[in-house]
Every structure is written in C-alpha cells, then in structure tokens.
Subunit: 332 residues, 2 copies
C-alpha cells in the first residue's frame, strides 16, 4: 500500500470516519489536494478497506470564466472514471464585500445541502498542512490576535447533524498530494487562488515559506501543528470556563456601560469585546487587533460621539458613559 494511502486510513480511523454502509461527500476542486484524496479513497475501496458510497461534489465559483468550466469538466470526468457519483453547482458569487468569504460560505452551503440530499453524515475536504500553515501566517501577519491564530480542526460540525472532516489536514503536505497524483499518473488542475486573496497568500507561499524553510526545513508542519495546538487551547479554555470568554457576562446587549468595563484587565477587556462583537455581528470576520485597540481608545477617550467603524459591518460609537454597537454596513 502506498504510504499516502496508509497515512489516510490511519487518520480515517483516528477521526472515527465510517468504513462501510454509509455515504460520504468529497469536495473536489480538481487541484492535486482533492484529486489525491479521491484517488486514495478509491484505492481503499478497491482494496475493500472501505465500502462506502462516494459522492464527488464540485462547486463552480465561475470566477475564472472558461477555466472554471474546464475545472468542472475535469472533475466530472475524473469522478466518473473512478465510478463515483458527481454533483456540481454553478453560482456567480457576489463580488461585493469579502469575495473569499462569500465563496467559502456558498461552497460550504452547497456541500451541506449535498450531504443532506444524499443522506450523508460526512463531508470531506482535502485541506493540507500547507493550507493550515499559510492561513496561520496570513492571520499572524495581518494581526488578528491570538484568537485568530487558532487553526482549522480536522473534524467539526458543518450544519446540524452533518460533520466536516479534513483527513489530510494533520499530516499531508501539498507536495505529497502532487507526488501521489503523479505516481498514479492522474492529472490535476492547477489550484489557482481566488483573485481576492492572491497577493498575500501567494507571497506567503512563494516567498515567506521558502525563506522560513531555510531556518527550519519542516516549517510547514511546524506551523500547522502550532495552529492546531492553539486551536485546542482556545477550545479547551472555552470548555473549561463553561462560557466562551472569561468576561462575557458583562458584555451583553448593544450598550456597554464603561464603568463596568474599565476595571477589567486588558486581556479580559479584549476577550470580552471580541465576544460582544461576535454576538452583535454574528461573526468576527476581518476584525483585527487594531480594531479592538481602537475601541479600547474609544473607551478611554473623554469625547462623546466618536466612532470606530468595523470592517465586515457595524460600528462602535461612544455615547456619554457608554459605548454602543450600531449595525451599519461599512463597505471597504
């Protein structure tokens, strides 16, 4: 058995993924990561290690015109050649706001819908240690603060009873997936990145990581595991405290009384503000350390009427002895 396949089945067992009599949905973009995952699953089915119905799901973002359609055709052919069912959805993502985030939301919704339609409990994606490491560095460089450094987890709830699993995340490098495809003599599409995230992620992939690997040849694995451990820590803390953030009881409602907030430590204040904003906005998207620091300055300022606008929606306004969350839309 190829080492790639052996690693996959070991991780499969560790994550508690099903071995037989179930349906799984595998998200396949056509890049080496997802094609290698599909090939390895096929290998395990041929060896009768797995007896599963596999549905290949492809989301066509339509962001790159004919290229996008060629990706879809390629995935359909690959899936059909392996004898798997194929489902796709085309959608034009709104270019307003955060394109990367909009694409991701639409893609995960499609995957959850497909799983529900097929009666599958599991959706699999082919994220690798490289994705984990690159995202970690992006968030670190951007300054999203400790919370923002927590990595993706190998298993998480996707929607209702549907679970999202990433069986390559904890061990596979992108080069392993490319190598496996080459050895199986199966083509893959080049994984072009969404326009929106291009600059930073490409620089990280092409320049930052190669430079860091001169100092530590295993830098991708090192960063990926660091992100993974940071995620464990923050979820362990959340769990231990029995509440998402240490100071959250203070941080309810749209209006915060400054007298109650001022005695807090910086750590408590920052954690509290993040949980407050998460509850008000529904997410912490694009929120960076500098925005929390701006709100801190607002709290300590003597003037009323000052405003901190938040990227991704909403603003915080100082009104006398309070700060107030205003649900306005701020477009960048």
């Amino acid at each position: 058995m190829h080492k790639f396949v052996r690693n996959l089945i070991t991780e499969w067992r560790k994550l508690g993924l099903p071995f037989s009599d179930e349906t799984i949905v595998v998200a396949v973009s056509g890049g080496a990561d997802s094609v290698s995952l599909l090939l390895a699953i096929d290998d395990l089915i041929v060896r009768k290690k797995l007896r599963l119905r596999v549905i290949v799901a492809h989301f066509n973002h339509r962001l790159r015109g004919e290229e996008s359609d060629a990706d879809e055709s390629f995935v359909r052919e690959t899936a059909t050649a392996l004898g798997f069912e194929f489902v796709s959805k085309s959608s034009t993502i709104k270019r307003k706001g955060n394109l990367e985030q909009n694409s991701r939301d639409a893609r995960y919704k499609f995957l959850a819908d497909t799983a529900r339609w097929a009666g599958a409990q599991y959706v699999l994606t082919a994220h690798t240690q490289n994705d984990q490491a690159e995202t970690f560095l992006m968030n670190l460089i951007r300054g999203s603060g400790p919370d923002g450094l927590a990595g993706m987890s190998s298993v998480r709830n996707l929607n209702g009873s549907i679970t999202l699993a990433r069986p390559l995340l904890s061990w596979a490098l992108r080069e392993n997936t490319e190598e496996f495809c080459r050895q199986r003599d199966v083509d893959y599409r080049s994984d072009r990145m969404n326009d929106d995230e291009t600059f930073t992620r490409v620089r990280i992939r092409k320049a930052v990581l190669p430079m860091l690997s001169e100092l530590n040849p295993r830098i991708v694995g090192t960063l990926a595991r660091t992100a993974e451990l940071l995620a464990r820590e923050s979820s362990a803390n959340a769990h231990e405290n029995g509440k998402p953030q240490a100071a959250s009881p203070l941080f309810t409602g749209d209006r915060l009384d400054l007298k109650s907030v001022k005695p807090l430590t910086k750590q408590e204040l920052y954690a509290g503000l993040r949980s407050w904003l998460r509850a008000r906005r529904g997410n912490l998207r694009s929120l960076q350390l500098k925005h929390i620091e701006a709100i801190e300055r607002l709290i300590n300022s003597r003037k009323s009427g000052k405003t901190v606008e938040l990227p991704g929606g909403g603003a915080v306004v100082k009104q006398g002895g309070s700060i107030v969350f205003a649900n306005i839309k701020v477009e960048k």
Copy 2:
C-alpha cells in the same frame, strides 16, 4: 518634550515605576536601545519629573575580546558624563551548553546582585518591540509550541523583592531608539549578537522581517503585541486554574504511570508533560514540540527500554508500564 521621552514617562506611570526617593538599576550594554533609555531617564531627571538615584550596570561577557572591553569603557564614560553611578562585572561565560542562556543567567544574576547591593527595588532593561518580535519568530520557526510563543512581560519578578521592568518593550521600535540617540548627538555601540544565536536571529532581522513588512508595514508592532497577548492568556489561564497546568496533579514524581496518562487529551498530555519536565529539570530550555511528540510516541510504544534524550539535559525512558525521567546530561 521629545516624543520618545513622553512615551517613556507614560509607560513609567503605567508600570508603576518609582518617581522619587528611590534607587533604580539600569542595565546598559552600550547599544542604541539601552543608551536611549538612559538618555531619556536623564532628560526626565533634568526636567525634575524623576528624582531617583540611577545606577548604570554593565555586564562584560568577554565574548568579543577587545570589542567587549571597548563597550565597557564606552558605557562607563557615557554614564559618568551624565552623572550616574557605574557598576560593571566582567566574567568569562562557560562556552559549554547553551552560550546564549548561560550569558543571560549570568547577566541577570549580576543585575539582581547589584540591585540588592544598592538597595534598589527595580532593575530596568531596554528590550524593545523588535526584541519581542524577533524572539517570537525565532520560537515560532523553531517550533516551541504555543507555550513557547508567550512574550516577555513589561514587569516581572527578578529575584526575591527585586522587580525587572522593561519600559520600552510595549511601544519602542529599535529605529526609535537609534533616532533618539542621533537627535541627542550621542553615540552608541553596535549591538553585535552573541555568536551562538547569530544565524537565525540575524536572518530574522535582516531577511524575514523586511519581507513580512512588505505585507504589513507595522509587522514588528503586530508580532510584539501578539506575543504579549499570548503571554497574558497563558498567565491568565495559569492564574484562573490556580495551578500551572490543567493536568498537573497527575504529573508528579520521577515516574509516570502510563495508565493514568493515556486517557488524557493531547492538549492535557502536552501541557502536563511540559509542567512535569519543567519541575524535573528546573526549566524548559531548548525543549521543542518535537520532543514532547517523541515522548508521546514513547508512551504509545509497546517496547520497554526506549529513550528520548532531551536537549538541555535529561532523558525520558520507557520502563514497562511507566515512563521515567532520568537526570542525565545530554551535550549537543
């Protein structure tokens, strides 16, 4: 008042440093960081904002021959010209083991001794955001795991009743200190690095940080604050739990029973092993994620007699249903 001096007095107040009728010890290497700190303190004394007895303490590591002696002379002259007392100690650091760590230990011991001798409660060092950011990146690249990413704090206990304060750490960039020295027309010595740490730290300073600053021009401040917040989080957790690590009660004595350790989560196991090793060795020096992972494999291995040697001293040996800490010296 120069912005550098204004920032210092603001931080001085925030850290609760003394304003009058006390003695402080300022550690001065002769580099721009420590010379600028000394100049700014002098400025505040001239303005009568501070009324303190200042003792300039210089530790001569004797690692660079005549250069080291020239540094010492320079600091003596600078201190004397400003009317401060000057204390120095020369010592030949043992080159065995971790040179950087040995130097640091000897230097801090000298500073604590000087403070005790002078009746000072505070020792000040001139670490900047750059030191914080570089150390963070070094530990990140090296793979020291989440614990190892916690930054230096601006105030900590040094020894008994003596407090170590770093009044530049939270706001000053190295370039600010150089600029302030230039504007005051005061020379400084170039801060050559210890031989031992040269390669990685120099690459980080000269290549990694400049590249990251293309993606975020304020990268040094961003990384420094991230390290600071990670330190706050880990100390907040330690404090909340009332014990250094969640799982520590299990991790006492030189022998660990595997049956009691196996049910733990990875997070609990890793934290427990770190606190166990810290207690056995007195420190966690040079300990990386990969060593903890090697001990985890040892725990799960079926063979007795296997050993994981730890850099910086000690080894962990599997013996039947236990692992045992052996206090042997492993020289690299």
